[in-house]
Point group: D2
Chain length 182, copies 4
């Protein structure tokens, strides 16, 4: 039984749509237990994270990096970091913003560096580009999705949700393999 | 009269030591008006920033990027960004952490991207390395300094403070030139 | 008379289309002298770069960063760097790739760090997103453009060329102001 | 039997010292077969890389990123990338430069993004800082080492070589576990 947690912040609901897609993808892999943890409720879930084989981090990109609430969560892991409690867990990331491109990569880089400080192994998206489909935005370090200034039940759309599902599946499969090899 | 503002967060006082050094450096350039703005007091200072020719951003590096409080400040500029009120101002950055190297660059990259979103021009440190002296850590995109787990009156030391002063001077000189050319 | 140089590499002609658009944009600013320098001909043009007020760097994004030939040019500036001959010049960058998003930002970050090592001031794109128009890809640190697997007379298209022109204009205007203030 | 390859470029021999330390570290893990591949000889070794469970990438940091020869190697993997032949292999990286800090992180970020394009899993250094010892430069995404303008038999010194060995050991252990779980 591989345990995968998805920790995310969502300001207006768009990133939550992807977080839920990531959960669906992970849960579709037999033998996976998945937990969805909003950063607002992190205080009740430190134990959940510590018991996980893999943690997937998700944040909107605000002003070119992770959101303030997500960064506040990252800072709150300082003690966990110092004790290296997440060492050798798997990690992955996703981010959503209003534009097609650009600065979402800085968010993924920030998440990958954060995971490396925790001595976690980083899993990228692992999907080639399908125009209008999975990984339509051509991202590799993690999943990038996009939503305009519309309600979250309109965007991010089905292609981006499929991208989130693909990330969840990939991490769950890797977590099973990594656990089995231990 | 060039106006330079230094906006910073400091968790334990070490980054504040550098912020004050940056202010000293900027103030040493004749005809420069310098303001020091802690992010905790930002609500009283949005007008100060808007009236500045140059804004220098300073944050500790926590878990591989800007601190949570500094990121919260960055997010709070979203309206300023949308109206592009800081367009064509100058920008620069500095960051302090406990180790010699590594992930401070991600903080400077995050600040440079943030400034670019605001359509500001980015000024790097502009100093070659002097062992044990100015720019001892060999950083170029901005000033990197280092302080161990000791009180801020012990570290960051004189070399790192001189590095901060050099950044302040450079930005103030550039602000004078940029204003004169307008 | 502000002098602007555009140094670029283009593997298949797509980045060259944007380089030429950047040149058009810069040349549209009265009083600007613009030179287009392919990295293959760099040996005849070191003096051109040294005499420039601003240098704009352009490279395809290959495997997540600047192309090999462009990196080879960057490495060849080591002596120029050591003597800081480009200090206080302006710098900017653009990059083209086949996908919409992702890893082009790493190319722009790499160019901005390179410019900072040379103690140059970095100018971003300075344009808000216009869907299907200027900055359609939502990039700020520099210009991002995109071309599929088609000949360069088909893509990058007119929106991306307009983005390149906007970058050229912005740099030329800044170079005039920066020169006047000296 | 886990197979680990170390692909590197070294301009003056300093990065080669670390490459050899990484090999020693990997070889110290029972049941590991290690190959050292200089990028100059890559044409004879594409098969070696394709048969590896893990590939460790090493490059000097020149002008803020991987060296020209290393980038040329990266570009030469485009066909391998298109066919995703390295998918699900493990990856890691190291870099050496003359200064303590700063822009080596951009090299490691560039290597991590490159590995993510190849759908590889990224393993960081996984070591806390020991002053004057392993990871003295405080790097996490990979191993950072430093050598001044002295012959490679003087620097990088024993602490940095121990850092390289630690990276090699970590990757070899992970490769054994990852292979076993398959």
């Amino acid at each position: 039984m591989a345990k995968v947690s998805v920790v995310y912040h969502s300001g207006f609901g768009h990133t939550k749509v992807i977080a839920e897609a990531v959960v669906r993808g992970a849960a579709s892999v037999p033998g996976t237990k998945v937990e969805l943890v909003p950063v607002d409720a992190i205080e009740q879930h430190w134990g959940t994270l510590e018991a996980s084989d893999a943690i997937i981090f998700g944040s909107p990109t605000y002003m070119g990096s992770v959101s303030g609430p997500f960064k506040t969560f990252m800072d709150a892991t300082a003690k966990t970091w110092f004790e290296q409690k997440w060492k050798d867990k798997l990690a992955a990331g996703f981010t959503n913003s209003g534009g097609l491109s650009g600065d979402k990569l800085n968010t993924l880089q920030t998440l990958a560096i954060f995971a490396a400080q925790h001595s976690m192994l980083w899993i990228g998206l692992g999907e080639m580009v399908q125009p209008e489909g999975v990984n339509r935005l051509s991202s590799y370090l993690g999943a990038m999705t996009q939503a305009g200034n519309v309600p979250p039940d309109q965007e991010p759309g089905s292609a981006d949700q499929a991208t989130g599902e693909a990330l969840g599946r990939r991490v769950a499969n890797a977590a099973a393999r990594w656990s089995k090899g231990a």
